[in-house]
Symmetry: C2
Subunit: 331 residues, 2 copies
């Protein structure tokens, strides 16, 4: 196989283009100064962007490049899911260290193309360059939705139920295991894969938005406490979370039962769950459970929105839990 | 002044948000999972993205951070200019090394805010994180235009004039001087500023698009030969450039007259000119010169589009010039 230096920047761009289906006319994708896109009439354009830096967001030694490719798009898809938007196009920028193997790039593109195909999302452009540091991946995603269906952080009402999808803490525990040296191919795979290959809840987010049952929604990337905190901040309210009601996976239970103290910080502040957290009036419980059943994704009431300006976490014994930190610190 | 670590990720985001005017309702900018944007009816969305990596695209020692902020947006604005699109929104992602000074970030944001205000372009979202390598800046820009006015690379016709705006080679010569240790504050400022603070030709690009006089357009970022090559590739044609007709600045002339050989490679392959290169039927010459006069930007015919599949550069003595490389090599 050709090396990256031999392929060159334009060779790499041609190579990437060949791997992804291109926009159909009159749209214009990779190969001009800019992409031309035609959002559907009457819909707003929903845009999100995420930067993934080697040594900060990922360690290439933790798993195959294919999963890194899947995750690079997944974290952006998750942002669209939390707004109830339909994914349409994405842009990929890569800063690649000299001597990086083309095989690794191939694996990365494999995973990216898989995730893109699964969500009908078209690669419409990007940029590639060298890097004096590690690999840096920047993805900007664009989706669309009718304005009246879009779910924001700002709509929560006191008295609303607080819901979460799936289970919490698996990804953070998976990261802890990876940092301890555990790798894929063993009993811990379900936990490791939640960290390495998270599932964006796009269809669920879209169904919840279309059903009009939800007041505010966010995806859990910084941990439930921090992200519910963002909803409360934007909605000028507070919330109360009952830790005993949080949905936990069998894998996390098994692993945590050996610990002297239950790892609540991982569950509520570990982050990277990429589950949806939303608030909805109590009277919508039954309708929301129906959506859960149809989608095949557990949805659980874990607390309620309050009139206070705080997010409180209450332990199963009724006392307040005080976490030492509420999310990842970057600087 | 507070340090970056003390400010934290969300403090930095709040800080950035406070520095830029935000989208007006019903649009939604920084502070939710995604931005909500409403392109004008009947217009296509034009999107471009550029990644700037420390040590690859810029050296923080070459000039003030304010100019780096200006340039980060300028290179993206230049892509929109080359399509004849109107800038609307941009997204900023920063990977910032630990210990980076907040003063530098402030300077960077100053320049970015200046450039954004000059082009009426709204900061609508982004991402910030730590970096184990150098500073990495990713900007995605979105503009819009009526589909029938958008200028692509693919419209060049044999017989067309090849035009360029402004003057070529200043930026590459400026970079050479910077690498030799020359800094701002001396006689070489006009050359250094073409490298450190390029002017995107947005208004000119828009006027040319609206006038309907141009067949194909590109901005010169990789050097005239390489970028005209992109037009020829997409238009399935060739071109002939008369080096003796290339527009050169007095500053470049003065500096180059001391050289034993005229620095043609800098002029045609140095890159980062951020001038426009376009092709137009010969009968439009007078109308295009009128636009040049109104805009106050020189426009020069430098060659013609041919039926061959090559881009040929012809020296003032009539012989073919063969450059050793045609653009910057990333890997």
């Amino acid at each position: 196989m050709k090396g990256l230096a031999e392929l060159g920047e334009f060779g790499l761009i041609d190579h990437i283009r060949a791997r992804f289906p291109q926009p159909v006319a009159p749209e214009l994708g990779i190969g001009d100064d800019a992409a031309l896109l035609s959002p559907s009439a009457g819909r707003q354009v929903v845009v999100s962007t995420d930067l993934l830096a080697e040594g900060v967001h990922f360690d290439p030694g933790f798993g195959p490049a294919r999963l890194l490719g899947r995750k690079s798009l997944a974290v952006n898809l998750s942002d669209l899911a939390s707004m109830g938007a339909i994914p349409r196009w994405f842009f990929l920028s890569l800063a690649i260290p000299a001597g990086f193997s083309l095989e690794t790039i191939e694996g990365f593109l494999d995973g990216l193309a898989e995730q893109a195909a699964e969500h009908n999302c078209i690669l419409a452009g990007g940029d590639t360059c060298g890097s004096k540091g590690g690999l840096t991946i920047s993805v900007t995603i664009m989706g669309e939705q009718r304005p009246e269906l879009i779910l924001k952080r700002s709509g929560a009402q006191p008295g609303d139920d607080v819901w979460v999808s799936g289970s919490l803490g698996d990804s953070a525990l998976g990261l802890k295991l990876l940092m301890e040296g555990v790798r894929l191919g063993g009993a811990h795979d379900p936990l490791l894969l939640r960290q390495l290959d998270p599932t964006p809840r796009c269809e669920l987010g879209l169904k919840l938005a279309e059903a009009g049952l939800v007041n505010a929604m966010i995806d859990i990337s910084d941990g439930l406490l921090a992200d519910l905190g963002h909803i409360c901040e934007q909605s000028v309210c507070g919330a109360e979370i009952l830790l005993g009601q949080l949905p936990l996976s069998p894998a996390l239970y098994t692993c945590s039962s050996k610990q002297p103290v239950f790892p609540w910080p991982l569950v509520i502040s570990g982050g990277e769950d990429y589950e949806l957290c939303f608030t909805a009036p109590r009277c919508n419980r039954e309708a929301i459970q129906k959506i859960s059943k149809t989608a095949g994704i557990p949805l659980t009431v874990v607390g309620k929105v309050t009139n206070s300006r705080q997010v409180q976490a209450i332990l199963p014994d009724g006392t307040n839990f005080q976490p030492s930190a509420s999310g990842y610190t970057h600087f």
